[in-house]
């Protein structure tokens, strides 16, 4: 108790509060700019933290990362350019809502459920970190392989008008992910002697191309007409939020739990969490046909999930110093510099500090609500701007964002190629979402397959002879049986 009071004393000082607010605004800016990720936002803060006390230093990074992941939703909803990869899963959905004039509702859901998801992940972190970290450390390549398979299965739930075209999209994504040197064997593939291609195809410019550039091209082709629908003003935001909370409480809790679970496992991250949750949401929805047409249900679940995973990524980081994602990797470094060495001792010897860090997690997620709301109000101005002014500026933003992803013109080349590819795919009703899922999960799947094979000298039995792996394999098999069963029943019902 005493330690908790001390923690309050550490956090509620002017220095900490102003630092955290400034970091929040910075995170909002970086997250909202496509091409710049939450990881980069955190990395940019590193030199500044050298001159800060431990609590404001950690507070700044935590707040900045949480805010950036949320802010990625904003350009996704308004301009169809996901600000960070974690928003890509539901960018189409949120943009469809904007086209229907429901931008405020969509963004309102993003703010509210991002904050709740983040808080949920924090609560899990506070109360269960040591036990969960022990559990996460049992995951070897076999378990990761099955997790990746489960993730890929999600592609079948995302829903495509034609399943074979969905499959084609997924295969394109998987193919893209194999380019370069980053594979278990360390062999350059599809590089044709180019140094740039050795780095592979960076996910961020590819995403900017597939979503944003293809949309810019389409709008340019149509002469950038004004929006079809006038934006609906949400009168009382709290009534709107209350409505969503009561209607979608199940989705929200499921998103929180999924996101937290994925975040705890080192190596997966907010982007995978958002995809899985969006797919799960559609699978269990009573109205799956509404998905993709501007329906808030999937957004609620996925946006809860990505922020929850961000918070729970701290579980292995704080307990064992094993980073759950790149953001926590950066912050672990700062923790060491500040003498807050991660590990069980941090919980034992420095309880007031760890409580102060937890308080900042809570504060960061609460701060998201007023700041997010402010941004939504500003966003309305953006939607009133004529699209003939907006589209060219967006193209320049895309170019700069793609460049910034690796500070090279190669990023812009990727963006352009994928812009054309995305344009072509949508012309032919090939959905984009499975392709991105393939780019994200492909490397995890391949890496864990190959390393498991190296460990077992090629014996496939090894995939099921560990307890957790066996459970995951059975779960996957059950899901497939249920998918095949429902498709079959659906067909029969359709034919009679």
């Amino acid at each position: 108790m005493d330690a908790i009071l001390q923690a309050f004393g550490l956090v509620f000082t002017w220095q900490v509060l102003t630092t955290v607010t400034a970091a929040a605004l910075f995170g909002l800016l970086v997250g909202a700019v496509p091409g710049l990720t939450a990881t980069m936002a955190t990395a940019l803060l590193v030199p500044l933290t050298f001159f800060m006390d431990p609590i404001p230093a950690v507070g700044a990074m935590v707040t900045c990362a949480a805010m950036a992941i949320f802010a990625g939703d904003i350009p996704g909803a308004l301009l169809r350019m996901p600000g960070t990869p974690a928003s890509a899963a539901y960018t189409n959905e949120a943009y469809a809502m904007t086209r229907k004039g429901e931008a405020e509702t969509a963004l309102g859901a993003c703010v509210l459920f991002s904050a709740i998801g983040g808080l949920f992940g924090t609560i899990v972190l506070i109360f269960a970190a040591p036990a969960l970290a022990e559990f996460a450390l049992n995951f070897s390549s076999q378990e990761y392989f099955w997790m990746a398979m489960l993730g890929l299965t999600c592609a079948t739930f995302i829903g495509a008008a034609s399943p074979v075209k969905g499959m084609v999209s997924l295969l394109i994504g998987l193919l893209v992910a194999t380019v370069g040197l980053k594979n278990a064997s360390g062999v350059p593939r599809f590089t044709f002697g180019s140094t740039d291609l050795m780095a592979g195809i960076d996910f961020i410019p590819a995403m900017i191309g597939l979503f944003a550039v293809s949309e810019v091209m389409r709008t340019m082709a149509a002469g950038a007409p004004s929006w079809d629908n006038v934006q609906v003003r949400v009168g009382n935001i709290f009534r709107d939020w209350g409505g969503m909370l009561t209607r979608y409480w199940r989705q929200q809790i499921r998103g929180n739990v999924t996101g937290t679970a994925i975040g705890i496992l080192p190596g997966a991250g907010a982007d995978v969490a958002a995809y899985v949750s969006y797919a799960v949401s559609r699978r269990f929805s009573r109205t799956p046909e509404k998905y993709g047409t501007g329906h808030v249900e999937g957004i609620v679940e996925a946006t809860s999930s990505n922020n929850a995973s961000l918070s729970s990524a701290w579980v292995p980081a704080l307990v064992f110093g094993i980073p759950g994602d790149t953001i926590t990797a950066i912050v672990i470094g700062v923790l060491y510099v500040k003498g807050l060495n991660p590990g069980p001792t941090l919980f034992l010897f420095n309880p007031q500090t760890i409580y102060a860090v937890f308080l900042i997690f809570i504060l960061a997620n609460l701060l998201m609500i007023p700041l997010g709301w402010m941004v939504i109000k500003l966003a309305r101005g953006l939607l009133r701007t004529p699209r003939s002014i907006l589209m060219p500026i967006i193209l320049v933003f895309c170019i700069v964002g793609a460049f910034a992803s690796n500070n090279a013109a190669y990023g812009i080349v990727i963006m352009l190629v994928f812009g054309l590819l995305g344009f072509f795919m949508e012309e032919n009703d090939i959905p984009i979402a499975p392709c991105i899922l393939g780019i994200v999960i492909g490397p995890i799947l391949e890496h864990n397959f190959i390393t498991t094979m190296i460990k077992s000298d090629g014996s496939l039995l090894t995939f099921v002879n560990r307890p957790i792996a066996a459970v995951l394999a059975v779960a996957l098999a059950l899901i497939w049986v249920s998918v095949i069963y429902t498709t079959f029943r659906g067909r029969r019902a359709g034919s009679t």
């Binding site: 295969l171 062999v187 593939r189 340019m220 082709a221 149509a222 003939s388 193209l395 492909g442 397959f449």
Partner: protein, 156 residues
């Protein structure tokens, strides 16, 4: 541009086959059964399988033109707009380093604004404003090394 199922299948068939053949050239990890070639081979084969499904669908549909022009391409200026947009990005890739971000960005914005029939005054104003704001935000706040080219550093 819309491909019929048969056309899409043909493209996939060749792509899948090419990938599978290319994967044969990848070296194996000594002493291991599965190496760098395993996944690309699998992807290539899966593509060929998708191609076969698409052929079956195309056959069911009967005779459809292999490639059809989508409705929007018939609108005047639509193809030109897409072409100019792509050209602008290509121009940026080649010119940004020697000439610098500010002039190239200004030129691209001006061309695109005019293409969308924004008046000259507005076009110039927004092109200048957007370029300078982008330069400031990315270079100074986000520390992105946008190319200078012939430009000196602006006063920020």
């Amino acid at each position: 541009m819309r491909f019929s199922d048969t056309m899409l299948g043909t493209v996939l068939l060749f792509l899948g086959a090419a990938i599978a053949v290319y994967a044969r050239t990848l070296p194996a990890v000594p002493g291991q059964q599965y190496g760098a070639a395993a996944f690309p081979t699998l992807i290539g084969l899966a593509m060929v399988a998708c191609a076969l499904v698409l052929f079956a669908k195309g056959w069911q549909q009967g005779r459809v033109a292999l490639v059809t022009r989508t409705e929007w391409t018939r609108q005047p200026g639509a193809l030109l707009a897409v072409f100019v947009t792509v050209l602008c990005v290509i121009a940026y890739i080649f010119l940004a380093r020697p000439v610098g971000f500010v002039p190239v960005s200004f030129a691209i914005l001006l061309v695109l604004f005019r293409l969308l029939s924004v008046s000259w005054g507005k076009a110039i104003f927004f092109a200048v404003a957007a370029t300078l704001v982008t330069d400031y935000v990315f270079r100074s706040l986000l520390l992105v090394p946008l190319p200078f080219g012939v430009m000196p550093r602006l006063p920020w």
